[in-house]
Symmetry: C2
Subunit: 449 residues, 2 copies
């Protein structure tokens, strides 16, 4: 396990110095290894402990004796398992206090900081750094989700697997990310909060600065039972947590997809000034789905300003609609749909944000050409689409209004990949786009209060 | 547009005879073309009309005169647009009555029947045929969704874009699919139902035979406004529709993803006899998320029977949990996790269905090997995984109990692709798996009443 962690850190391009500690080997993956912590050159900033449970207190003591003041304790087998584990966990807390060591864990998967190539977890980090700071009581939601996050174009600023929280807990990490300038939105996965009042205080201060989204799973009978064996958490009543979140101004979600997708949007899009949305599509079904979801999530669909409406009308064929939602129907006008119309719409003082379904790329044209048995070079078209998407991606910053898109095509369409990788969220269904927009609007209301 | 439709039908391998009708061309895509409907060899089963709006009544009349009794009218520009369109739509209804022509449309995208390679839509059908019969007032949800459905492994038996429903409406199509043996579950996308009582009658009779899932978007102020310009629908109050669905035993959803994903599960998995679920994972976060979602969606997590529990215990390391949910923790035992344990669990009389998160494949191993700079041949391992997945996929049929899985890895992992393509649903998040399981259980309750 230690080897895999080392490999991932090396692969992530960590620029700092790494000292493997190994009882027998002289070198590990080309790095000089040390038999004991006491053999290490000084100073060492952080110790990462991936060891059999019983050895952990002993090695932590050694760390303390040798001036190491920070640790990430990956090893499991502590209070989540049995009484012996509980005793060992108390031991490491006692040792840490003695030497003033602050540590993450035990029973965690580690910490990822992609900007400095720091990733001592079991999984490679596949995406460029982003604005989402994650604090998670599940290591899976730090690591196993990485392929999904890369697919969606959601990047971590820092991701912290807090494990059993024998020392640093969710509130400590929240306080840290609250001041971290690279973190634009904080996502929390919670099975248990220990000091409710302290959490509430920290969260309240944080939410003034940046949005916080939380998934809490320990409050139902099923969740509570699972949480005990997972992190040894004694989870509390769901209603109590719901109240804490509400008081703190934390946006609560009920699925891990919402957690990351809403956090991703909150980290990269400007807040809408009000609930007035425009919908732009070339298909009636998603237009109606988006409009229906808008009403359900307290967003409005006003008329466009008269002069904007007149200018929009020029892009719409007679079978289409220049009302809001705009349905362009089946028209192949990539620049119109993905640049000219969005620009017009965002300029409308009557509109606070834009939802687009059905981003156009080369997939459809390619299908047609393939069906016709024609071979075609898409290089120029791809270039044109990339330029258009680039323009669209610049608009939220330029006009101070959010854009969220959806499409049934995934990353295999380059336009989708390009958008997701350039801070323009593109979800897999129209309703998801609307719900994320509603989260943005909700945070704008939280900020106002 | 007609050319693209022809291309897709040819590409889909339609075995029947196709006669292109074209005013000028002598051949179209290698097929002999005819200048007039009256020139066609007889009999012709179905006419597909993709024409300028004004020409449609005239050509339909010609169809009637030449003995054609079925039509799919793709053309738009009718009652969804203006008064002139309304008049033209009345015209085609009158002509159809005169000649006893039954037709789908106008303003639709066509009908897909993948088993016979029939696909005169604008998009290629990318997946093998399946058990989901779709009736949709949106052409997009018949066609633009195809890449998404292929990704998820959800196949159509038949998909019908009903358009303006000037003749055949949702109830007619529902009656048809109700008797269609290839259709195992019916998915409805509804913006308006015209004759509520008839729909209720047909739906009630259908639900006794097979499950029906419905997405209704026309009942909110936003949805109603969008629906008018889309299909000219005068949508009704959301509560009224909700009551109709409840009375009929139709399972209502609020997103297009749920529509297809629940329908996909209902079409391929046996119904659970009760609400007692087992959760099997190797990670605590998803275990807790699934357990929490189970409670929220009225599913239970009982203890395993004592003898089964004893046998499960053998597969679990000391840091894991043989409780329900089972958390195997980070153990690489593909056969244990994906075959031996599921078999044990499904044999337990105390368990009605199984949820698995974190299907194991070669992705992780591949990442580790790549990080280590090792080149490796995965052929044997892939074969082993395919065999294991095959075994898992056979279990729902064998034990009469459903299995639903989730993973954060997508189709790039062959194990996931293989599962999805062999009727073993694998969703993108643990909560989605649970919600689909809850839909299965709900239908089992509907059947019982």
């Amino acid at each position: 396990m230690g080897t895999v962690q080392l490999l991932n850190t090396l692969r992530a391009g960590y620029k700092g110095v790494i000292y493997p500690v190994h009882p027998k080997e002289k070198t590990v993956r080309g790095l000089r290894a040390y038999a004991h912590v006491s053999d290490l050159p000084k100073p060492v900033d952080t110790a990462i402990l991936t060891l059999p449970t019983k050895v952990v207190p002993w090695v932590l003591e050694e760390c303390g004796q040798n001036g190491i003041r920070h640790a990430i304790i990956i090893s499991g087998g502590f209070k989540e398992v049995d009484d012996e584990g509980k005793r060992l966990e108390k031991d490491i807390s006692r040792i840490a206090k003695k030497y003033k060591i602050r540590f993450i864990g035990p029973n965690c998967i580690g910490v990822i900081n992609p900007r400095i190539g720091f990733n001592p977890t079991m999984f490679p980090y596949l995406h460029h750094p982003g604005g989402v700071g994650l604090i998670s009581q599940s290591g899976t939601y730090v690591t196993q989700v990485l392929p999904y996050l890369a697919r969606m174009g959601i990047g971590f600023s820092k991701a912290i697997s807090v494990g059993n929280m024998a020392d640093l807990d969710i509130s400590d990490c929240l306080e840290y990310l609250s001041d971290d300038t690279e973190t634009k939105c904080i996502a929390l996965y919670i099975e248990e909060i220990r000091e409710g009042q302290r959490f509430l205080d920290v969260a309240r201060r944080t939410v003034i600065k940046k949005p916080v989204v939380a998934l809490y799973t320990g409050g139902t009978s099923g969740g509570a039972k699972a949480a005990v064996s997972h992190t040894g958490s004694m989870a509390g009543n769901d209603m109590i947590y719901d109240n804490i979140f509400r008081q703190a101004g934390i946006i609560r979600v009920y699925s891990v997809e919402d957690l990351f997708e809403w956090a991703g949007v909150l980290a990269c899009q400007p807040l809408p000034k009000g609930p007035k949305m425009a919908i732009l599509t070339h298909s009636g079904g998603p237009a109606t789905s988006m409009a229906d979801a808008c009403t359900r999530h307290h967003l409005q669909l006003p008329e466009f300003s008269p002069d904007i409406k007149k200018r929009i009308q020029k892009f719409i064929p007679p079978t289409g609609s220049a009302q809001n939602p705009i349905d362009m129907t089946f028209v192949i006008d990539i620049k119109g749909m993905m640049a000219d119309m969005p620009r017009l719409i965002l300029k409308d003082p009557n509109i606070d944000g834009l939802l687009i379904h059905g981003i156009m790329g080369i997939t459809w044209i390619k299908n047609v050409k393939e069906a016709a048995g024609e071979i075609h070079d898409y290089f120029q078209m791809e270039q044109f689409i990339a330029d258009t998407v680039d323009e669209l991606a610049s608009m939220p910053g330029k006009y101070g209004k959010p854009i969220i898109c959806s499409s049934f095509i995934d990353r295999e369409e380059k336009a989708i990949a390009y958008m997701r990788d350039h801070n323009l969220p593109n979800f897999t269904s129209p309703e998801k786009a609307v719900r994320a927009m509603a989260a943005l609007y909700r945070y704008s209301l939280i900020r106002k209060r």
